[in-house]
């Protein structure tokens, strides 16, 4: 049924329809509305047969999910930002053990400086933790990806993280078509665990492995995750047949067929980019967009194919590797090795800074006019004057003090100005 709901409520409803048996979570903005809503749904009986554990921390939350999953329960958690970092050790355990846990990550920046707003630093920091990472473009896709995530997790026995932009999606009221319980039940059969802690048939999940087989266990982990590249398109096709709409898959090309310049991005910024592409197409520019739905595993072949005819690729990403450069950009270069194209790394939308059509348009105009240096890392809408002022200050004071506070003072900022 189509309804106008908050993204968090829509996701909580979708997760409810997937019948998790254990939910362990700890609240953190902007994920809180999701787990609050789920705890309500367990309390009222809308989500029956589920134990909701309000644990003491994110580390506890994922650890409880690991235990529950090992005991054969369908387990779910959600977090954001520092909460995901606090789970770091358990993330690697969940994937290393091959436990089919599903998590919602309401993407948020990582401090310091402390910041509650959206970017992708959290998921990118954990990109090599062995979890599958799917990114939602809209609240509709967030709903659909959760249903698909349980299917994928349980068919391969791997954990899956569904990433949705914090606030931008989680707190947005948008139109969402919520599936029925019958539809989800038909699509997602009950969990048949591929390994199970059962006193009548004892096994060890988490045996210590030395040099004799560690490489082989890890190799299998890689093989299993790469299998998701075959499995996800199949699940997406089945989803489309069952629910009547396209969601998920690996990549999402938009007007790329004859595009000379393609913008690559993940998450909610894609809609804005598509609007810019349409405007520029109307003006006769051959531009397109490529959305990455599945970031881990990395769909190198599909990315290469989608970019095979482009001459310029502009990777717009909401995170970066300090001291190295673009993260998605590096992966795109890897996928397009040997192709005659120029790739530009553009960091945008950090810590909740909006990525606007106007800024994207300026960026693309610069790219088309060859004013952008493809060998450098670019920061969209960077306030150069502010940076220069702070550098200048630092040169002259014997104790220049903390940059964050100095720069806020220089701006005379109040939170209310953030919409500008």
């Amino acid at each position: 049924m189509r309804s106008q709901v908050e993204g968090s409520q829509a996701v909580a409803r979708a997760v409810t329809l997937c019948r998790p048996q254990v939910i362990a979570a700890y609240p953190i903005s902007p994920q809180t509305h999701i787990v609050e809503s789920l705890s309500d749904r367990v309390r009222t009986g809308e989500l029956a047969g589920c134990e909701y554990l309000m644990v003491e921390s994110e580390f506890g939350a994922l650890s409880a999910c690991i235990g529950a999953s090992g005991a054969g329960a369908r387990a779910y958690t959600a977090t954001s930002s520092q909460g995901l970092l606090f789970m770091a050790e358990a993330l690697f355990n969940a994937s290393g053990l091959g436990l089919p846990i599903v998590m919602t990550l309401a993407n948020r920046a990582i401090g310091a400086p402390i910041n509650i707003w959206n970017d992708h630093s959290d998921s990118m920091a954990m990109r090599d933790s062995g979890w599958i990472q799917l990114f939602a473009e809209s609240n509709q896709e967030a709903v659909d990806l959760h249903v698909q995530a349980f299917r994928l997790a349980e068919s391969l026995s791997v954990p899956v993280m569904v990433c949705m932009d914090g606030f931008v999606l989680t707190h947005a009221f948008e139109e969402v078509d919520l599936p029925t319980q019958e539809q989800v039940d038909a699509f997602l059969p009950p969990l048949v665990p591929q390994q199970l802690l059962d006193p009548d048939d004892p096994v060890t999940i988490g045996a210590m492995v030395g040099p004799e087989a560690f490489t082989e266990v890890k190799y299998l982990m890689h093989v299993k995750q790469m299998a998701a590249l075959d499995e996800l398109p199949v699940i997406a096709a089945e989803f489309r047949a069952a629910f009547g709409r396209s969601s998920g898959g690996l990549v999402k090309p938009y007007r790329t067929d004859d595009a000379e310049t393609v913008v690559v991005a993940l998450g909610s910024v894609l809609g804005t980019i598509e609007d810019v592409v349409d405007t520029m197409r109307d003006e006769g520019h051959c531009v397109g967009a490529l959305g990455i739905t599945c970031f881990r595993p990395w769909p190198a072949a599909e990315v290469r194919e989608a970019l095979a005819h482009a001459t310029r690729v502009v990777v717009v990403e909401r995170a970066f590797a300090v001291g190295a450069g673009g993260i998605v950009g590096q992966n795109v270069r890897d996928a397009t090795r040997g192709l005659p194209l120029e790739a530009y790394d553009v960091v945008a939308g950090l810590g909740g800074r909006p990525v606007t059509r106007a800024s994207l348009r300026r960026l693309l105009d610069d790219v088309l006019a060859e004013r952008l240096d493809p060998t450098a890392l670019h920061f969209l809408d960077l306030d150069h004057a502010l940076v220069q002022r702070e550098l200048e200050r630092s040169r002259h004071g014997h104790r220049p003090g903390p940059h964050a506070e100095n720069m806020l003072r220089a701006l005379g900022t109040v939170a209310s100005g953030a919409y500008e």
């Binding site: 606030f167 931008v168 909006p354 606007t356």
Partner: protein, 193 residues
Amino acid sequence: MFSVRIHGRGGQGAVTAAELLSVAAFAEGRHAQAFPTFGSERTGAPVVAFCRIDERPIRLHEPITHPDALIVQDPTLVHQVDLFAGIGSGGYLVVNTSSTLDALGLGDLALRLDPRRVVTVAATEIAREHVGRPVPNVPLLGAFAALTGQVSLAAVCDAVRERFPAELGEGNVRAAEVAHEQVLEQLRTYADA
């Protein structure tokens, strides 16, 4: 696409107002998107919320910098926030006040707009009378509906009843109706002038 920006203070229900507006527009068969700008979430701190209404699905995710309509829940925000940023000469303005725009020092700003598209309504007082609490968001939606015609009063009232239980909902519905009627009256005055 019709874009609305709502300025208020924490506790005045700016975010809820944007959400209710999106629900009302959706119920009338249009596409809508509501979202907040979260700052420091303290009672009294400036809050901005947005709503887009369109005939086509909305895939854009950027703040509204050029609104077609502004709802100002507390005009004293003008000392802290650039309330009128980006509004064009054809824009609509709803201000919550029991005073006049001139007395508030907003007369010059409002002159940039078509005077027939500017209304004031004492929404806090209306809310105090009908809801029992000084929360002006819903009566301002009633005023917005009367001024712009983007949503019907009935759709606003349905969205309010769906969101708030029993008496709280009914009180807010009455407040929306009163504000709606007051704005229709103002618009009749403009038409007669």
